[in-house]
């Protein structure tokens, strides 16, 4: 089955302007994916505005110079700079200037200045069943799984190309038949107290991603309804340990009212029965620091912290002074509430470093520290911090992260599986 473009799409693709360039990128990707046609999209979330080097800036500026602009609502994922001025980014010139030029180019293309990896908590929530083109692996998995909108994992540049053309390849998770579960990931063997704990979801997400890879599974055995931040943590961890773009939780996520409805066939192809031993191993695998006697920092907020997560942070710190900083990464959407009643100032007085528009694993914020140890409650930070920051990682609950930041050494009190 080869790709067929409509006469209008063909005409656009033949153009020498930015729209032509975008249409060729979409069409070339569609061909690579084996998509038979392009479909219209309702919105986009753009991950391409993060500076990884000059090439991305040059591409975005080429699109601007050649007259392109987005055809659908498009929010922006994190950039490499904190435009809100909350934290100091150590990116030096000339990279700093190139990163700013890149962010500016995406603004000129008509994208919203959301600068967050949690756009779904910043008012961008496409309707159930709608087709969209989202980038950023955690946003993709949340959009598909929790909102039930349909997107593939759009890589950098395809996301903006889809936004400009208003089109996406008809492929993969846009097609209902590809959204059904083939595997069961059964957590009924875990204790209810563990499942109710904060660390359950990022740890299970990390295990889920490793176990299922890019297959689609349904999680069963979940009593009660995990909150939105728990689902966010699960998806983010799953998308960083495996190529997970969509998960279902029976009785929780919108396409899986029950197991029978969401399974692709009468029987699952495999059933993964999760044991406390598997969970303990997955949890241990999130840490790379062996026995650390001290920590240098705590990082939270991958995906970006919600206001509810800031409430928890405030409650746990309870006005105490921290011995090491807690880097709390968030989007500007969460800042407004924080500015009320001097809440942000109080957190900063305790030693919290609020990071807006960006985060500590995508741009240099934390000091370069040979042998540095970072504690985090984020499965995604745990996955990426060693490679991107050079810090070894200790994984723990938010409560343990806060206690450890107060003492400057790791303490673990949270619950076992």
């Amino acid at each position: 089955m080869s790709l067929v473009l409509s006469p209008r799409e063909q005409a656009i693709a033949a153009g020498r302007d930015g729209a032509g360039m975008a249409m060729r990128i979409v069409a070339e990707s569609a061909r690579l994916l084996g998509a038979p046609r392009l479909i219209p999209i309702a919105s986009a979330h753009i991950d391409g505005a993060l500076y990884h080097g000059d090439s991305g800036t040059l591409l975005a500026e080429r699109l601007v110079e050649s007259g392109a602009s987005v055809a659908v609502r498009s929010t922006l994922n994190v950039g490499a700079l904190d435009l809100m001025g909350c934290s100091r980014i150590r990116l030096e010139e000339p990279q700093r200037g190139m990163a700013r030029r890149m962010m500016e180019a995406y603004r000129k293309l008509g994208c919203e200045q959301s600068w967050t990896c949690a756009p779904y908590q910043a008012g961008h929530r496409p309707a159930l069943g709608s087709d969209v083109a989202w980038g950023e692996s955690n946003a993709v998995v949340f959009c598909n799984s929790v909102l039930g909108a349909r997107t593939n994992r759009y890589g950098d540049f395809l996301d903006i190309a889809c936004a400009i053309t208003g089109r996406a390849p008809d492929y993969g998770l846009h097609r209902p038949e590809n959204r059904r579960a083939r595997l069961i990931f059964d957590v009924s063997g875990l204790s209810p107290s563990f499942l109710a704990s904060e660390i359950a979801w990022p740890v299970l997400g990390s295990l889920y991603g490793r176990e299922v890879g890019n297959a689609i599974g349904v999680v069963t055995g979940v009593a009660g309804r995990p909150g939105e931040d728990a689902l966010k943590a699960f998806g983010a961890a799953a998308a960083s340990s495996g190529a997970v773009g969509l998960f279902h939780i029976a009785g929780v996520t919108p396409e899986a009212p029950d197991i029978e409805t969401i399974l692709a066939g009468p029987e699952p192809e495999a059933v993964i029965r999760v044991t406390p031993q598997m969970v303990a191993k997955a949890r241990a695998g999130l840490s790379t620091a062996g026995t650390a006697n001290a920590i240098n920092a705590v990082a939270i907020g991958s995906p970006h912290l919600s206001n509810a997560e800031f409430d928890s942070l405030e409650r746990l710190i309870a006005g105490r002074m921290l011995a090491v900083p807690i880097y709390a990464c968030t989007g500007r959407h969460a800042l407004a509430l924080l500015e009320q009643d001097g809440r942000r100032k109080k957190l900063e007085a305790s030693g919290v470093v609020i990071v807006a528009d960006t985060c500590v694993v995508v741009t240099p914020i934390m000091p370069d520290l040979a042998g540095g140890v970072l504690m985090t409650n984020s499965g995604k930070f745990a996955h990426y911090a060693p490679g991107n920051t050079g810090y070894a990682v200790l994984y723990a609950s938010l409560a343990d992260c806060v206690e450890s930041a107060v003492l400057g050494r790791p303490v673990f009190a949270d619950i076992a599986a």
Partner: protein
């Protein structure tokens, strides 16, 4: 030793020492875009450099910024000499598609069964203009 491979993204034919990855990799966070060094400490080939190598990829995982890292490697002259993938990865290969739109010279990406990867380990490999993957003598 030769494998007939399907061309996924056209580009410059290449030759280089084989780098056969034994685990899937996330380019973003896993490969340094400035040097091409594998930076992921959990990856079995941590410390190896992809630049100038014929890179055999059993699979890719993780971030949707893989394309940006690959385009940056191309722009910095640190791209692999060729990419050999078990299956097309549209996120990663977008880096080559976008780089071609910018008019930069890109390596070729071809498809080959991962079962055949092992025979290329430790050899110098040519990826010809027709997509054939051959051990150079």
């Amino acid at each position: 030793m030769s494998g007939a491979a399907e061309i996924l993204v056209p580009g410059k034919a290449g030759e280089g020492e084989a780098l056969v990855l034994t685990a899937p990799i996330s380019f973003w966070g896993g490969v340094d875009p400035k040097t091409g060094r594998i930076a992921d400490v959990r990856h079995p080939q941590h410390g190896e450099v992809v630049a100038g190598r014929v890179l055999f990829l059993p699979g890719t995982i993780g971030s949707s910024s893989a394309s940006a890292v690959l385009m940056e490697l191309v722009h910095n002259g640190r791209a692999p000499a060729a990419l050999v993938l078990h299956e097309p990865d549209a996120i990663l290969l977008l880096g080559l598609i976008a780089a071609r739109e910018m008019g930069w010279e890109t390596p070729m990406a071809v498809r080959l069964e991962r079962g055949a990867f092992d025979t290329y380990r430790g050899t110098s490999v040519t990826v010809a203009a027709n997509g054939a993957v051959t051990v150079a003598v």
